[in-house]
Amino acid sequence: MSSLALRPCGDFRTSYKQDNTIFETKTIRRMAIIAILVLCTAPLFVDGYVLTLCIQIAYLGIAALGLNILVGYTGQISLGHGAFFGFGAFASAWLNTSFHIPVFLSIPLAGFLTMAVGMMFGLPAARIKGLYLAIATLASQFIIEDFFARADWFSGGSYGAAAEPLTMFGFAFDTDQSFYYVALFALVTMFIWACNLLRSRDGRAFVAIRDHYLSAEIMGIKLNKYRLLSFGISSFYAGIGGALYAHYLGYVSAEGFTIFLSIQFLAMIIIGGLGSVKGTLMGVIFMVFLPEVLESGVSVLKDTDWGNVPMVVDGLAYIKEMAIGLVIIGFLIFEPEGLAHRWAQIKNYWKFYPFSY
């Protein structure tokens, strides 16, 4: 639903049903279903390493999608998404260990708890814009981070919190192979949910606020309500992502949920494409695979004679770190609309080949 404008000529829709489909043609829908079925068989073919990366893509992807709803669709900004992700992780572990709520319930509950916290921080944020909003959300990052360190009852303070694996009907999802299905299920559900949200009344209101908040208000959209709702939904997604992360790792420590994680989420959606559901996933895949691909590049070099010469290997380590920054800058300059846009262009090129316009 990101593209409500600039339809190509000849693209007519004659009913609301047509206008509201998630999959625009039957072929795409079939392809999507086949792709999911293929993904379901992945554990038979790939090893734990690839599965781990896929699981990472799933929980980071869910959280990044939340941020994209807030930033890409509603036009707000949040620099505290990493903290909300952490809050979800701790909340789920806490609900499970303190109240013995089964994990499959504590994950969505953690989402709602995070949503409540997100909306609390969204309250002032719903009334401010631009740079002020950025700073307000930055504050939420530090407040929540500090909370993790101090609230022993909630996060275990400096000791961290243990998180039980997800169990259903006596079966524990505690291996990469089994948790992969949980992650895949969550990813597909949350992405379909987001697609549905964005073609609903609320989703259209978000887009209207992003495109021109004044016009939106004149049309009768309650700005505060929808900004707050957007914060809530975004935090809900972060909370679900964080909870999955917690139960996958089995242990949550406050170390990981810093401002760097928040910025990484922003980088994911900028690289993938602001205001694009599929772009979010592309961005996450890119950001998860980039360090791994660079790392395997470094490993290839390590197998040569240059191998364990520390100067070479350490130098490469820095290049690897810099490359990530470089890629982000590169995207901002050359592909500001993200991978989603680039993909569309590639697709167009082949669609009209050899007569592209």
Binding site: Y49, Q56, Y159, L249, A254, F260, E292, K347
Partner: protein, 424 residues
Amino acid sequence: MKKTTMKAARQHKILLPTLLATAVLSVSTGASAAESVFVGHLADMSGPTAFIGKVYANGIRDSLAYINANGGINGTTLEYETIDYAYKVPQAIAAYKKWKSRKNMVVMQGWGTADTEALISFVAKDKTPVFSASYSGHLTDPTGKNPNTKKPAPYNFFYGASYSDACRGLVQWAAEDWKAKGTAGKPKFTHIGANHPFPNAPKKACAEYATELGFDVQSPVVVSMKPGDFKAQCLSIKSSGSNYGYIGNLGGSVLSLVKSCNTVGTDIQFMSNIWGGDRKTFAAAGEGIKDYIFPAMTPFWDDSAPGMNLVREISKMSDKSGEKSRLHHYMRGVCSTYFMKEAMEWADANGGITGENVKKGMYAQSNWVPKGLEGVCLAANWTAEDHRGINQVNIYKGNFNGGEVKIDKVTTVTLTRRDDWLGY
């Protein structure tokens, strides 16, 4: 235009992971030779803790290379890979999984709080011993014997006193120091550090012991991990009249703190954590480092312990000239690797080098000093119920006089292995 974008998107949202997964799979390499075992090495060489992470990592890397160059583990070569995860948890997890699923990793040498804690559950499930440089007290209870232990860490080992024990040792020294000075009244003790898991790790445990020893424990002073102007914090230390302060931070933050407090004119005896004091830090701080107390688990580069000969040989693996002077964190990396090496040798002789056997190998000896490292590594005692390998704290004093860093040993404190301190 846009319609096709959407189409493409929906379709490829799902297709792309499959493609990428296959792509990565085809790039990957696997298959380890039968004559070698794999040791994974996580290091931070470009992240926020790199300035000490590199020193420690070099100690491990050089040791692994030296072990291989000298016959390996009873003839078995150590295949190893160093991955710089830049202190990022997702990358640490990915590296671990890669090693586990593709290289059949037996043992891992880890680094900091972030990676060690993220992997606690995985390594316990996979039975992979991890030797870390994260000395958190809660890694020392392998069976959950102490009812306060939230999560037993059966496969986590580290060489050195835990953060809590090191702080207890310092407090114990401070109590004696106070008595020796003969000043009247109760000494005051303050915890100084950022509100993060690492500086906070010993906060509660140390404060409790300080109270037990008759200290008047002040409320902790929060100082950012990033260097800055800490005069405000120093003023509150000054006004509280604190006599002993435990520094939980490291590196630049410590420099700023010492400098700010000198400007303000506090009369406090600083005692730092194990990462908070080394030659480089003192040299950078320059004038102003006065009787700075810090713990160490190894001698320093220029000391003449018998084991230092081996350390200097190991150092030549990456420094052919042998002229490079290493910080003492390097020696901790060497010790960590050599305890692992001897446990692997034991495992080799008792049923083969597997994670489970290496863990058992860690319990095989008491008052254990790796061969050739006498005087470098402290005698260690790991047992199946107590992973506090070291219960000794060597206390040193750092000074900067006329352009030269001077480090003197003050004393050695031995802590009792109290049950209520296990895993805490």
